[in-house]
Amino acid sequence: GGHHNGSHHHRKHKRKNGTENCRRHPLYVDFADVGWNDWIVAPPGYEAYYCHGDCPFPMADHLNSTNHAIVQTLMHSVNPGAVPKACCVPTQLTSISMLYTDEEGKVVLKNYQDMAVIGCGCR
């Protein structure tokens, strides 16, 4: 579950109109929730994160936007009904490793690519 809380870190990302800029939010996938802690040796779960927030115009550098996203947001500001805003999406992902035992009791170590968000941006 992802949780919005009232921390200082959270408040500083809020804009004057109450909306929040595009940023990374915590999202923890706990393997125990689906009863997998009996065959996954490590990790017990992982921090996947998710991206959420507004992509305003003009776009700040930290929103990690592309030229196309700037044009799309610009066109949205001119005609909101015709063009949607750019989307807040993961722009950098990282892999995770899992150590588990299979049906035969053999031990397997596997790396999974693009499993956790490192950075978010407007695209």
Partner: protein, 280 residues
Amino acid sequence: PPAHALELDAEDVPDAATTAAAATPPRPRPSPEVLQTVEKNLLSLFGFNKRPKPVGNVVIPEAMVRLYKQQTGMDLDTASLPLPGRLTRSANTVRSFPHKASGVDATFRRPDRFRLMFDVAGQGGVPREERLEAAELQLSRSALHQDGDEDNDVGDVRLRVQVHDIVRPGVRGVRGPITRLVDQRVVDVRQGEDVRLDVLPAVHRWIEDPAGNHGLLISMAASNGSSRADAHRHVRLRRHAEEDEHAWKHVQPLLFTYTDDGRIPKRPARSTPRSKRAHQ
């Protein structure tokens, strides 16, 4: 907690596990139907048809734990294995196989020779859809110390460890086996670190032809010809009579296969090579 023998230190567990639990209020438990759907999708994402059923007490090989810790501690974003100098190429999966004991074990009476059998193609073996990139045989060693007795002087005793693929087993009194040397190492019996032998050609052959898997023949010979009496105990090929099962599981020979499951998309090239670009 898992029934496995692995105990990870607090720093090995991602901080998020504890911080997320501490920072968030208790969550409402999702309905069984929702959990079932979530599990089904997660299993598919992780490449399983169904949830593996754990069997008994499994000892997690130290090499796997080390590799896991290295991988999770890396700053680099890569699904490749952190094994510099080892040709694991695009492999992203490591499997460990212990020796499959059988009646054949008892026929090896000489202490310096033993056959190791690994079931890599059967159920729980290397899946057909995965590409084998590397295979290593790991043999544990127990260092022999100089004890002052001239007859038992370790001196310069170096042991040549050879691993052969048994292409055709021998028949006692009829014909000898046909074997192919796949790798060898010379080890110093005063040292105790694991020895790793490259057995990729043999494992490749077994996966292509499971019926042709007759195991690996391990032979040892002192390189200077004057081995001390207990030199054969240096490389751990079989369990000692006085050794308990759990202790043996930590030092037993293991085959490691390194495979690419094909789930990692190949990254597109950033630019077209000069040779491929059209002339302006």
